[in-house]
Symmetry: C2
Subunit: 214 residues, 2 copies
Amino acid sequence: MTEVVETKQDRIARRQVDKFQARRTELAVATLHTLAELGYARTSLREIAQNSEFSHGVLHYYFADKRDLVTEAVRQYEAVCVTRYDEVVAGAGTGARLREDFVDMFFATLNADAPLHRLWYDLRNQSLFDETFREDVREIEERREAMIWRVISRYAELCDAAPALGSGSAYALLDGIFQRALWCTLSGRAEEVAGFRKELVRALDLLVGEGQTQ
Amino acid sequence: MTEVVETKQDRIARRQVDKFQARRTELAVATLHTLAELGYARTSLREIAQNSEFSHGVLHYYFADKRDLVTEAVRQYEAVCVTRYDEVVAGAGTGARLREDFVDMFFATLNADAPLHRLWYDLRNQSLFDETFREDVREIEERREAMIWRVISRYAELCDAAPALGSGSAYALLDGIFQRALWCTLSGRAEEVAGFRKELVRALDLLVGEGQTQ
DNA sequence: AGAAAATCTTGACAACTGTCAAACTCCGGA
DNA sequence: TCCGGAGTTTGACAGTTGTCAAGATTTTCT
C-alpha cells in the first residue's frame, strides 16, 4: 500500500514539476523576446516581466538570479535555431536543388528572425567577457557548425566532390556572410542584401570545388 | 597691431584647443581600455575614470555624454587597428612570404590585443541594437574589409591568380576565422588555436585558387 | 468546506547609473 | 602680486538595477 501511495505522490510531484518547468520555459521565452528586442546590455528584469503576464517578483520564484534566467533563455534559442536546415538537406535530391533551398532558407530566416539572430551574436560576444555563458555558447556554436557541415558535406556529396575547407572554416565563411547580411537588414539596407545571394552561391560552389556536376 | 594681438590670441587659443584635444584622446584611450576589459554592458563612467588619473566629473567637461565618449573611444580603436597588415603587404616580395607574414601577424595581434578585439566585436554588435553606433561601425568595417582585400588581392597578384571570392566574402571568411580563434584564445584553449593556422593557410590558398605559383 | 501548499504581487532595500552644479585648485598674464 | 578663467574635484540628484521578504491570492488535497 505504501507503494501505491508513493506512486500517487510521485505522480503529483511529477505533475507539479512539469507545471513548474512549463512556466519556467514560458518565462524564458518572454526573456528571449525581450533580449532580442533590447539586447543584453539594456534588458532588465522588470522589462522582461512586462513582456510576460506576470510581475517582476515571479522571476525570482522560478529562477535563482538573472544569470539563470538568461541562460535558460539561451537554451530556448538553441531549441529553435539549430535544426533549421535539416529538412532542406533531407528533401534535396540534387546539388542544385539543395543549393537553392539552402539559399532560400538562409534569407528567409534572415528576414523573419532578424532580432533573434542579433541576440545570438550578442550573447556569443558576451561570452568573451563573461565566463558564465561560455559553456552554453560553445555548445550551441558546436551545433550550429555541425548543422552547416551537414549542408556542405551533403552538397559536396551530391556534386561528387569533396569540401575544400574544413568544418570550422566553412562555418566561419557562411556565418560571416550571414552576420554581414544581418547587419544590412537591420540597418535598412535591404537592397544591398540582395547582392549577398550571389556571394553566397559563389561561396558554396567554392567550398565544394569548381568541378560540381550540377 | 590689432592683427598682432589677434594672432597672439589665436596662438593661445590654438594651444588651448590642442591641449583640450590631447586630454580628450587621453580620456578616450582610458575608455577604450576599460571597455576592452569589461565590455560595453558593464562599463560605467566611474569605472572609466578610475582607469584614468582623473575623477569621474571630468568626463563631462570633455565629453557631452556617455555616447560621445564611447564614440570617441571607438575612433581611437580605428586608428590603431585598421592599417595593421599594410607593412606586411608592402614588404613581401613573394606570395609565400606574404602568406607567412600575414599569418604571423594574424596570430600575433590575436594574442597581443585580444581584449581590444573582443571590444570591437562587442561594439559592432551593439550597432545591431543601437542606431547611434551604426555609422561609425560601418565606416570601420569598411576599412577593415579594404585592409583584408589589399592583402588578398596582392597575394593573388603575387601568385599570378585572381581572387576566387569578392571582397565582402573574403573578409567574412577571414574575420570569421579570427572571431573563432579569438574565442578560443580568451577561453584558455590555446592548444586549439594552433589548429587555426593550417585552416587559415588553406583558406588563403583557396581564395586565390589552387594554381598558385609559390 | 477548510487547511495546506503553491503561486503571485507588492513594496522595499542597497547599490549603482548618468548627469550636473557648486566649490576648489592651479596657472598665465597684468 | 593678485586676478580670472580653465581645469578638476566633490557631492548631490533622480532614476534604474537585482534582490528579497512579507503578505495576498490561487490551487490542491483531504
